[in-house]
C-alpha cells in the first residue's frame, strides 16, 4: 500500500486515510484536547503523509511513522497556541485591544465511559499541565493504549526511559489532582 502511495495512487491514499484516521485523530485529540483542532491536525498529518511518503524508508512501522508526525504536529499546534496567549497577555499589559483569551471549558473525551466523564475531565485538565514528554508518554499509553515498548519506539527512546516518564507523570498528576480536589472540595 505504501509503495502504491509513493506512486501517488489515489485509491491507496484513500485506503490509508480510512485505515488510520481514527488513530491519528484520537492521538491528536489526547494532546490538544479540542475536537476541531484535532480534526485540523489529522488533516495536516495526511497532507504531509501524501507529500512526503517518499521519505518513509520502512526502517520503522508505518504506524510508528504516523504517530511521530501526529505528535510533532500536535505539539507545534500547542506551542503556537501558547505563543498566541502570551502575545495577547503582553498586548493587554500595554493596554492594546486584543482578542479576548477564552478559557476553554472542561474537555470531555467521547470515548470515556459515561460514569467516569467528570473524573476524566479533571484528569485531562491535569494532563495538560504536564511537561511535553510526560504528556506524550502518558497520552500514548493511556489514551491510545500503546504498550511501553510501542511508546518507546514512537518516542525514539528506551523502555526504561518510558517507565521513568510514566512514573514522573503519575506523581505530577497525583500532586496536581490533590491540589485541585483540595481547592474544589
Amino acid at each position: 500500500m505504501v509503495e502504491l502511495l509513493k506512486q501517488k495512487d489515489e485509491a491507496a491514499f484513500k485506503t490509508i486515510v480510512e485505515t488510520w484516521q481514527d488513530m491519528v485523530y484520537n492521538t491528536a485529540l489526547g494532546i490538544v484536547q479540542n475536537a476541531e483542532d484535532a480534526e485540523d491536525i489529522a488533516q495536516e498529518v495526511f497532507v504531509q503523509v501524501y507529500q512526503s511518503v517518499s521519505s518513509f524508508k520502512g526502517d520503522s512501522k508505518f504506524s510508528t511513522w504516523l504517530y511521530r508526525i501526529t505528535i510533532t504536529k500536535s505539539l507545534d499546534h500547542e506551542r503556537r497556541k501558547k505563543r498566541k496567549k502570551r502575545f495577547a497577555f503582553v498586548k493587554s499589559l500595554f493596554g492594546e485591544e486584543s482578542e479576548v483569551v477564552i478559557h476553554p471549558p472542561d474537555f470531555h473525551h467521547p470515548g470515556v465511559v459515561m460514569d467516569k466523564k467528570e473524573n476524566a475531565a479533571a484528569l485531562f485538565h491535569a494532563i495538560n499541565k504536564l511537561p511535553e514528554n510526560q504528556k506524550i508518554a502518558f497520552s500514548l499509553h493511556k489514551v491510545e493504549g500503546l504498550s511501553y515498548q510501542e511508546v518507546s519506539d514512537v518516542m525514539k527512546t528506551t523502555v526504561s526511559s518510558v517507565e521513568s516518564l510514566m512514573h514522573r507523570a503519575k506523581n505530577n498528576l497525583k500532586k496536581s489532582l490533590e491540589e485541585y480536589y483540595r481547592e474544589n472540595g
Binding site: K14, V17, E18, Q21, D22, M23, Y25, N26, L29, A38, E39, A42, Q43, F46, V47, Y50, H109, P110, G111, V112, V113, K116, N119, A120, A122, L123, A126, K142, V143, E144, G145, K170, L173, K174, L177, E178, Y181, R182
Partner: protein, 108 residues
C-alpha cells in the same frame, strides 16, 4: 484525616478514569474534507508554503548576497580600469598640482 482519605480516593478514581477508554473518531466524510483541503492547497497557498520554507529563504539570501558581491566587483573594475592610468597622471600636470609646497610655488 477523613478529608485526606477522601481526596486520596478521588485521586485514585480519577487516575483510573481512562481505563477502558474507546478510540475517538473524526466526524463522517473525513476523507472528503481532506481532499477538499488538498485541492485548495494545491493552488497559490502551495506556492506560498514552498516560499515560506527556511531552505527557500536561505537560498534567496545567498542569491541576493551573490548578486550584490558580483555587482560591487564589476563596478570596481569599470571605475578603475588598470590600463587607463595615463589620463589619471595627466590631470595633476595640467592643473599644476605637482607643486609640493607653497614655498616651492613662490620661489621658482
Amino acid at each position: 484525616m477523613k478529608q485526606r482519605i477522601d481526596i486520596e480516593k478521588r485521586v485514585g478514581d480519577t487516575l483510573g478514569s481512562l481505563d477502558g477508554i474507546r478510540r475517538a473518531a473524526p466526524q463522517p466524510y473525513f476523507y472528503t474534507r481532506l481532499k477538499a483541503r488538498m485541492s485548495r492547497e494545491n493552488g497559490w497557498s502551495g506556492v506560498a508554503r514552498f516560499m515560506a520554507r527556511p531552505a527557500f529563504a536561505l537560498a534567496m539570501i545567498c542569491v541576493v548576497i551573490f548578486v550584490n558581491t558580483w555587482i560591487v566587483f564589476k563596478t570596481d573594475k569599470e571605475v578603475m580600469p588598470s590600463g587607463n592610468n595615463a589620463a589619471a597622471n595627466e590631470f595633476p600636470a595640467e592643473y599644476d598640482l605637482t607643486v609640493a609646497t607653497l614655498y616651492n610655488y613662490e620661489t621658482p
